[in-house]
Amino acid sequence: MKKRFYPIVFTFIFIIFFIVFYKSLKNSNIYTPRIGINKEIPSFNAKQLNERKEVYSKEFFKKDEFYLINIWSSWCIPCREEHIFLKNLSNEKNLKIVGLNYKDKIKNAKFFLEDLGDPYDIIFLDPNGIIAIEWGAYGVPESYLVKKNMIVKKIIGPLSESSVIEIKRLIK
């Protein structure tokens, strides 16, 4: 019995460690937040880029329409790359594109839109990044597809051809 005790204990420990390490071998060590879909959209007040009027989100978002919330900034390079896809989506009639200008200078934001075109129906300002956190974002760009005041799809990073196709499919 005494002789068997150590080998049993050590094989037991070894097996536990082996399972743990083997399981985590394939896991990515970069964590992306759980894709929080089917969640209600946050409520916030925000100023607009082009108009002076402040907007209350609860009054703005209507239940029977689709919205694409796009968090962008003029200093963000991937935002330039995804701009062409946003322009493509702005042709869709039953989709409203809402921009959330993240920690940007108003002058630069306006210059960015003059330069590349304005696909947004409305642009909210988020000068200190708090509204983006309310949405559950942690960087730019991020996009949220909203239907019936619920987040239906969340895209972290720039939009791509495949995500545009999926959005078009979802809003049909």
Partner: protein, 121 residues
């Protein structure tokens, strides 16, 4: 009487300062327990990314609104998942993490028991 007035003013300033620092303490305690999602492995307190700076501001606002520490954790967990907390809760995915030290302790205890106490007898 004149001195008394000065002492009162000094006391008042110090007490104001103390109140402020206590608030900051809670704020930094919370931000130290939050993982920055951009530069992973660093806490929000240590990080200087856009995300971390916004989060610090948000926590300050939430504390001013009167939310407790637990409510803030719950709020952020809802948004970003449990990963954002450095101190994970006991659950399906974390039971091994919490029980492993206990398990090792028991095994160690068993070895010591085997080696010393049984030998003595």
């Amino acid at each position: 009487m004149k001195y008394f007035k000065y002492i009162f003013i000094i006391f008042f300033i110090f007490s104001l300062h103390q109140g402020h620092s206590q608030d900051n303490k809670l704020e930094s305690k919370i931000t130290k327990n939050l993982r920055c999602l951009v530069c992973q492995g660093q806490s929000v307190y240590d990080s200087d990314t856009e995300f971390a700076n916004s989060l610090k501001l948000l926590i300050k606002n939430k504390l001013d609104e009167g939310l407790s520490e637990k409510q803030i954790y719950f709020y952020l967990k809802e948004k970003y998942g449990e990963w954002i907390l450095f101190d994970p809760e006991f659950g399906k995915k974390t039971y091994f993490l919490w029980l492993l030290p206990l398990l090792l302790f028991l095994i160690g205890g068993a070895i010591i028991f085997k080696l010393f106490i049984i030998k003595k007898n």
